[in-house]
């Protein structure tokens, strides 16, 4: 092995492993239908990965399975096959594959798919996640944390802001499962989250702040739609947060060293 153990696919497998408790709980709750949906999205995302491998010699990645899982859990079910396929194609191709595949992308393909569906079909019936699936997000986050693919600072930043919001009287109880699942599936994605220490804290805090803002001001939106929009905006701002962190670090060093 020339590259050592820690190449891109190891990380992708670790992320996938972290998702297992969540996926297992979801399959148990939703039953055979859910398994069907998951296979459908897996095959479809796989076809796009295969196509890009043939045309651009881009190695396919296990991360496609994470995308498929996220879309299967979070996408509105009764939207119709054509609309779903359109959304998934847009997300997988325009947000991930044209950038050169997983690891080089700026935005999470599942996030873009959900934002696209939410924007394009506002009346879509978003799935209602029950509390058990929300609780399953905790072991998922812990596994990711232990294997080192999820950043603890993102969790700290988000939890701090959610804690402050809770103390100020924002009611999070009904929307908790959607936020937790979106947080684990989309926000903690190691590729599209911020990469510096301060940047990660800010990134988690920004996601949580946007969710709270949308909960208060955006009336009539489903919890998943709110969380996905916040995840998209947070990952759009992630490179900027990294730049801010690096700039402040440089300024600090300049002050210390003269």
């Amino acid at each position: 092995m020339i590259r050592g153990l820690w190449d891109r696919e190891t990380v992708a497998l670790m992320v996938l492993a972290a998702m297992l408790p969540l996926a297992a709980m979801w399959l148990q709750v939703e039953g055979v239908d859910a398994a069907f949906k998951l296979v459908f999205f897996l095959v479809f995302a796989g076809i796009w990965h295969l196509l890009f491998m043939l045309v651009r010699a881009q190695p396919p990645s296990f991360a496609g399975a994470v995308t498929a899982l996220a879309i299967a859990i979070l996408a509105p079910e009764e939207l119709g096959v054509v609309h779903l396929l359109l959304g998934v194609s847009f997300g997988v191709v325009m947000a991930e594959l044209v950038f050169g595949g997983w690891g080089r992308n700026v935005l999470n393909p599942a996030t873009v798919t959900l934002a696209f569906l939410g924007f394009g079909f506002p009346a879509a019936p978003w799935p209602d996640l029950i509390a058990q699936i929300g609780w399953a997000a905790i072991p998922a986050a812990l596994i990711g944390l232990l294997t080192g693919v999820f950043a603890g600072r993102v969790m700290v930043g988000a939890l701090a802001v959610f804690g402050i919001a809770h103390l100020m009287g924002v009611d999070l109880s009904g929307v908790y499962p959607a936020i937790a699942v979106v947080f684990v599936l989309l926000v903690l994605d190691p590729v599209t989250s911020a990469a510096t220490r301060t940047g990660r804290l800010l990134y988690g805090a920004l996601f949580a702040a946007l969710v709270v803002l949308f909960l208060i001001e955006w009336h009539g939106a489903a919890p998943i739609q709110i969380s996905a929009a916040a995840a998209l905006l947070a990952s759009l701002a992630a490179p900027l947060l990294d730049e801010i962190a690096i700039a402040s670090w440089l300024a600090q060093r300049r002050r210390h060293l003269g």
Binding site: M94, V106, V112, H219, A229, L232, P239
Partner: protein, 203 residues
Amino acid sequence: MNDLASLFLRAAFVENMPLTLFLGLCTFLALSRRTGTAVGLGIAVTLVLGATAALNQAIYHFILAPGAWTWAGMPELDLSYLKLIAFIGVIAASVQLIEMVLDRYFPVIYSAFGVFLPLLTVHCAILAGSLFTVERNYDVTESFVFGLGGGAGFAIAVIMLAGIRQRLAYADLPAGLRGLGITFVLAGMMSLGFSAFAQMVVA
């Protein structure tokens, strides 16, 4: 006070100039290659937009609006057809003025802005800011806040895009999408993200 704050936020996020109204896209796309230049452009746009929106609103209200000359015994006089020409003139003049003041008293900032200040003369978001204030009957304070908010929204958008574009150094794009192509795609995705703000109810 609260009204002005919500007007500022509305102008910055709900009616974001490049991402919701698609105004000022030329500088938005052309000058977002590095965060340094994007910050310079953002500050320049905020300053000029705030200043000219208030100034143009005052000029419209006291000189051009129908009935503005009632005190001089000419209540029928309606000069509002001159508004476009007047606004463009005012924008060009104030840009020139700001440039000269900076050149004389803050040469460091002047050289940092470089080409952006003269460019703002023909920046459509800045003209649009003035036209919006007239269309919506803002008073001078509201126009100033609206201008600052619109400029801040533009600054946030262009700096965010610059951050993303710097990270594209790691991407392996198809030849046809390199440069401006992927920037359009990214701007579209940012617009998708900002559409969430547009659906909020800001009183």
